[in-house]
Symmetry: C2
Subunit: 342 residues, 2 copies
DNA sequence: TTGTACGCGTTATCAT
DNA sequence: ATGATAACGCGTACAA
């Protein structure tokens, strides 16, 4: 009833432990016949190498970690992680690595989280998400000697490789789309300036306006939450000259903003155009359907996992090309109409 | 630069490996002074026991698994997992257990996933979610000898303990709320009948109607997705006698349904009342705000983790009481008005 | 190909 | 009562 070990296989096949190990890892130095026989016996006995023994022996954890630092309720609304994790998994499982997940409420608790992962030797590397400007984590991880891959737009040259869909093309696409519809007063509801994806999306919005030869519209910093999206929208609509279009840094804020506008009797898109970012499942089923930016999140996960495994094995980086984020035009954006508001 | 081992500590403290181990695990048989000295030295050297070595030695993985079988895009819209995982983590980390996550696209791939977890000895137990009626997984896990805790409403007596907020009170609360508002033609957009939480919510709806002395309203089976929620709503509204209120099995379908109704010029809640389930972050920011059911998901995670660890250690179950799911009344539900539709 | 040391704690057996 | 010693768990890798 107890699990078979490598010794059982060796005995049954009439060879040594070492031979079995060689056969399993398909390493040279075994007669083809022997190799086959060993594998067949292993199959019959139903032996799979013990991950624990292997991990101890090779001094590797055979696992990587993902530490998510966010209040759980904010997490629930984020469509990123599930898909991202699915992408990670698809690569990791092929390389016999497991994904170890930790969710901590805030960045304070993130540090000890990494420490423990390292101290106990639980993981061989980690993914770092939600990077903020001047984030201390890359340096901390370097100090701990733990390989890492940063998820998100690369902000300057870093210690670690960054993997992620560049969000600029998507946001710029949104602005261009609105400009083409005749809008010239285009606002932005941004993510926190301190977070790189908040930052980069805002910069993309700003750059796009510049390129279109338009004046910078109003920009309000929010925090990706529905609450903050609604509040930001309220501020924008209360301006002396409210914008005719708003580019949101994510779908959740866009949805909250759209609802707020509607509750004030403002019609979307007749009176106000709105774009989101993420292409959440619900986006296509709102009233009106939401124009938003879609990116290959699963692909990002795959790329990140691939890169981290390479980093761990000290292999040269594969060049992985991800399709750029693209605008999905729906009904929340429409032509600008030079009418008077009530 | 290499990690300190138990030997380093033993040498520095002038004792044997065994003594250090005893000190660490606070086991009897050491003079108080010795114990303290050892711990102090360990602290100074910065030694933490290697998880790998310990796992091999105690023949335990010191980790538990969560296998999520869902297409990633459906996952993204589900607010359950992030909070649930946060709850799991808070308990697991205190007991030095890690959470190993796997996301597979469908149930076909779930089976091999468990096999690998077991064969490699990666985990000591698993959480089973999204249980469906006559689910083969509990039996499979029993056969594999892998302790499990089922997440969700207990459907009959099972091999494994079930942990989860009972959804019946919440759904019944929604129906009662609608009845109190004067509605008598209350429909249900259900989750898949084959899934226990789809099933149990539908039963709760049905029971509540019965208790209120009302006729069973129309019920349409959907699959928790926005798409299916919209389709089901379309069917309901096309009935000769459309319902005046719809109870949805989750927020996502409710949102899609609400949008669909609005796109047809039906006012919510004036012409149609709507309730959801989950209390998603966006629910409070929709137009109108969504009446829905809220439950303690983090608490569920904590309870599940506690129970699984007990199961693994063959300890008697702690009795954990979770607050029942409760209705959060907002603006998508209102009094029934006996008016004619256009 | 085989034999064996090794990785690193845990625990049962012994000695004082 | 204290603490040392050695076997053990299970693959991997190198010398023979």
């Amino acid at each position: 009833m107890t699990r078979p070990t490598i010794n059982d296989v060796a005995r049954a096949a009439g060879v040594s432990k070492g031979a079995v190990s060689f056969a399993l890892n398909s390493r040279p130095g075994l007669a083809p016949g022997t190799r086959e026989r060993i594998l067949k016996v292993a199959q019959e006995i139903g032996w799979t190498p013990s991950f624990r023994a292997r991990a101890l022996s090779v001094s590797r954890a055979l696992a990587v970690g993902l530490v998510i630092a966010r209040p759980p309720d904010t997490l629930g609304a984020d469509p990123f992680f599930p898909s991202f994790i699915a992408g990670l998994e698809s690569v990791l499982s092929e390389h016999d690595h497991a994904l170890l997940l930790q969710v901590v409420a805030d960045h304070e608790r993130e540090r000890p989280s990494y420490r423990r992962l390292v101290d106990e030797g639980r993981v061989d590397g980690v993914f770092v998400t939600d990077l903020f400007v001047d984030d201390p984590r890359p340096a901390l991880l370097a100090e701990l000697g733990l390989p890492a891959v940063i998820i998100g737009p690369a902000l300057g040259k870093g210690i670690w490789p960054a993997v992620g869909v560049d969000d600029a093309p998507g946001i710029m696409g949104a602005v261009e789309h609105l400009v083409a519809l005749g809008h010239s007063h285009i606002a932005h509801v941004a993510g926190p300036h301190g977070m790189v994806h908040g930052h980069s999306r805002q910069r993309a919005w700003s750059t796009a306006l510049l390129r279109a030869g338009l004046a910078q519209g109003p920009c309000i910093e929010a925090d990706f939450s529905a609450e903050s999206g609604a509040a930001a929208t309220r501020q924008l609509l209360d301006l002396a000259e409210p914008p005719t279009a708003i580019v949101y840094a994510n779908d959740l804020m866009a949805m909250a903003g759209m609802s707020l506008a509607q509750s004030r009797g403002i019609d979307v898109p007749t009176d106000l155009s709105i774009t989101g970012y993420d292409d959440t499942e619900i986006a296509a089923h709102l009233q009106p359907t939401l124009t938003t930016v879609s990116s290959d999140v699963i692909g990002t996960g795959r790329a990140a996992a691939t890169r981290l495994l390479e980093l761990i094995d000290k292999q040269p980086p594969t060049d992985i090309v991800l399709p750029p984020a693209r605008l999905v035009v729906r009904n929340s954006s429409g032509p600008w109409r030079p009418t008077h508001r009530p």
